[in-house]
């Protein structure tokens, strides 16, 4: 399984837990994020998958069952302790059909804005292997975009709080310049969404850091 992790990027609320190493030495409480059992893996370029590993078959031994969600048949791997789902960045016009990942014996959901997460990643050591995560700044700014698209209000609040918590931790760590640099690299439309998200929660201090020009903090 560790070999397969090279092709996967962990996204979703579990990232917050694994960021604790990145923030070592700076005040950071991962418990602020309530986590569900869902673990989302992003596959940035499905065509680049090298290994032929049937993941459902591999995890069957551990008691995982494969479920086909909705009438489109999106695959989820269920276990009482974990629920695995696979995502790919949506390209072009997009699709509401599952994207086949034949080398893994799976399919994936295509979603917008995911290239923003895969474009800047960090590696974290977990026991004797490494997992790839989006850079915390990308993760937090992405959350600020998507919380505004959530249908369920409680999910939106959870995303928003997570984003604000991580941005504050980054600023406290002295990474405000990195946050600003990443913010400046995204399209203006996304920048507006991020600003709108921060304005909604009146996070003036973070807004000021994003708009500060040329001054590293």
């Amino acid at each position: 399984m560790a070999g397969i992790l090279d092709d996967l990027i962990l996204i979703g609320s579990w990232c917050v837990y694994f960021y604790k190493d990145y923030f070592s030495g700076a005040p950071y409480i991962d418990q602020s994020t309530i986590k569900t059992r869902d673990i989302d893996f992003l596959i940035d370029t499905p065509s680049k998958i090298k290994r032929d590993v049937n993941i459902p078959e591999l995890l069957k031994d551990l008691g995982f069952v494969t479920i086909y969600r909705g009438n489109r048949g999106f695959i989820k791997l269920d276990h009482p302790d974990l629920i695995l789902e696979f995502l790919v960045p949506e390209k072009g016009k997009g699709t509401d059909k599952p994207v086949p990942l034949s080398k893994f014996g799976l399919n994936a959901v295509a979603l917008r804005f995911l290239t923003f997460l895969s474009g800047n990643t960090i590696k974290v050591k977990v026991e004797d292997f490494y997992i790839t995560l989006p850079h915390p700044a990308n993760f937090a700014l992405h959350k600020l975009i998507i919380f505004q698209r959530r249908i369920k209000e409680e999910k939106a609040i959870k995303d928003r709080n997570t984003a604000v918590g991580i941005l504050k931790a980054l600023i406290n760590k002295g990474d405000a310049a990195i946050v600003r640099q990443i913010f400046n690299s995204v399209p203006q439309k996304w920048q507006k969404k991020i600003i709108k998200g921060l304005e909604k929660v009146e996070e003036i201090a973070i807004l000021n850091k994003l708009s500060a020009k040329g001054t590293d903090v």
């Binding site: 309530i34 069952v65 269920d78 409680e154």
Partner: protein, 106 residues
């Protein structure tokens, strides 16, 4: 709005209910019964042991292939695993239902 914590718990309840169905379905899909070997005068005879209502029946299988033996072995292992996990899921459902009983938004 039911609050962030309750929202997460409700989502998890939905997940556990789905899992319960899935594990029950997976158990039904497994071949029924267990393979039992009886040794009579040095020869091995295979029987399929099944529970029919309240009685345990031994159904003579005659000679069976290695492949079939392997399938029954795997099914036995998976049945144990799935039953254990199903019991875990049922406990989760009980816990989540009781946690969601209150009306307060948290």
């Amino acid at each position: 709005m039911r609050g962030v914590i309750k929202g997460v718990l409700a989502e998890e309840l939905e997940n556990s209910l789905r899992m319960q169905k899935e594990y029950e379905g997976a158990l039904k899909k497994l071949p029924e019964g267990c393979l039992a070997i009886k040794k009579i005068r040095g020869h091995e005879y295979y029987y399929l042991v099944k529970r029919l209502k309240d009685k345990v029946k031994y159904i003579y299988k005659g000679k069976i292939s290695e492949e079939e033996k392997k399938q029954y072995g795997e099914a036995k292992e998976l049945r144990v695993k799935y039953r254990k996990l199903l019991s875990q899921v049922k406990k989760q459902i009980r816990f989540l239902r009781s946690s969601l009983r209150g009306k307060e938004a948290i």
